[in-house]
Symmetry: C2
Subunit: 240 residues, 2 copies
């Protein structure tokens, strides 16, 4: 078992080299990014070349689970992958083009993806994934039957080697000679939020969206601020 | 010169294998995704392993330009990269967990990144990149001087081998047996939009944000609908 206080490994590639960005190696920072994100970008090797695939994810204290149907068809067994989760918080508009940038939070997780085959772990991973993108949906929708479970490709990555990088705040040229240019500078924040649900036209008229869906309208995708504590422990595999 | 009608190459890896998703190989579809996105995920090989780095991009008819400071430090010369741009349009909430999914648009571009060294092309690429994330900013902010230009790492990828995938619309289980479950199903759309600018605290009080920044408040990041025609031709390198 790991906990939020265990530092993530800092290998040479996860060590930070850009001074302006802030690196964090604690697990709490990783879980904040995982909670704030919605999809990840999974980088795998295919015939010796990188392929970057967007996909959904879920996580517990020890593992990241990703939907792997596209990547897995050509996944090299035992080869390492890199999964990156990025939240763009806004633009950094400086006095000079050179100092422009992006305020963001990102996590890069390295590891060898393991295809999940054991049904209880597959259910556990699918539940985490479903609840990450749409909390409440696992208890509302029909859960996978044996055939569907077998047809689902799920990959697990250990949350062992990772780096978290963030940048926030105003541009860096406010105290330099460019401040005398008299130009406006600052941040242009960006927010992703859920809109009114659109009912499937195949539904009978007047079926309302369930409360756990309707309640999200107008809320932000980023749920990192509202959640407290650790993600679920993998000990209760397949429960719920 | 290429134009919007030239098909993108469809190599085995860019051929589509998932039936529910819609693949497009025309260049117009690629430019729609490039216009709609804000950041990309650049996948490169580092010591034989994939590394996926979020970064900003710009583009003209022939090239994708990406800011390459992080990736380039360990970039294997001549090795192929994959750049993926993803726009998440919403969740697909089906009757069964198995049919859940994401409505999205994505482009995967394959190619060997070329470090841009010629100053005119570097200026051209930086202008495209700056104007992609913040239209109007290139003419407002101070442009890079010779020293800054030399310190900027910019990579160019040819827009030659790419695939575009999209999914839109309601879930697919509205006509199957699960429709009898009487559950709500549909889409939960997601929109990313610009918020009120936050002035740099180093600014004197009362300096208003310029019109090209203020005008974005409340607008969507996705500009694919508003733009018409082709992106800029690379013929006017370094102009403007």
């Amino acid at each position: 078992m790991t906990d939020a206080g265990t530092p993530l490994s800092a290998t040479p590639r996860t060590r930070l080299r850009r001074m302006k960005e802030k690196g964090r190696t604690d697990r709490g920072a990783l879980f904040e990014v995982l909670r704030a994100g919605l999809v990840c970008h999974l980088g795998v090797l295919v015939d010796g070349c990188p392929m970057v695939v967007p996909t959904v994810y879920g996580f517990d204290t020890d593992h990241l689970y990703v939907h792997g149907s596209v990547a897995s068809r050509s996944l090299t067994t035992g080869a390492e992958a890199c999964v990156t989760i990025t939240i763009v918080d806004g633009l950094v508009l400086a006095r000079s083009v050179f100092e422009h940038g992006v305020n963001y939070r990102s996590a890069m997780i390295y590891g060898v993806p393991r295809p999940v085959t054991e049904p209880a772990e597959k259910l556990h991973g699918l539940r985490l994934l479903t609840e990450h993108v749409s909390p409440g949906q696992w208890d509302y929708a029909r859960r996978p039957d044996r055939r569907e479970l077998a047809a689902t490709v799920l990959l697990a990555l250990p949350l062992a080697e990772a780096s978290v990088k963030t940048r926030s705040g105003p541009p860096d040229d406010g105290a330099g000679p460019d401040a005398a240019l008299g130009l406006w500078a600052g941040e242009l924040p960006l927010v992703s939020s859920w809109q009114q649900p659109v009912a499937d036209p195949a539904l009978p008229a007047g079926v309302p969206a369930p409360a756990h869906v309707a309640a999200r309208v107008g809320t932000r995708v980023d749920r990192s601020g509202g959640s407290a504590g650790l993600p679920q422990s993998p000990d209760d595999l397949g429960q719920g």
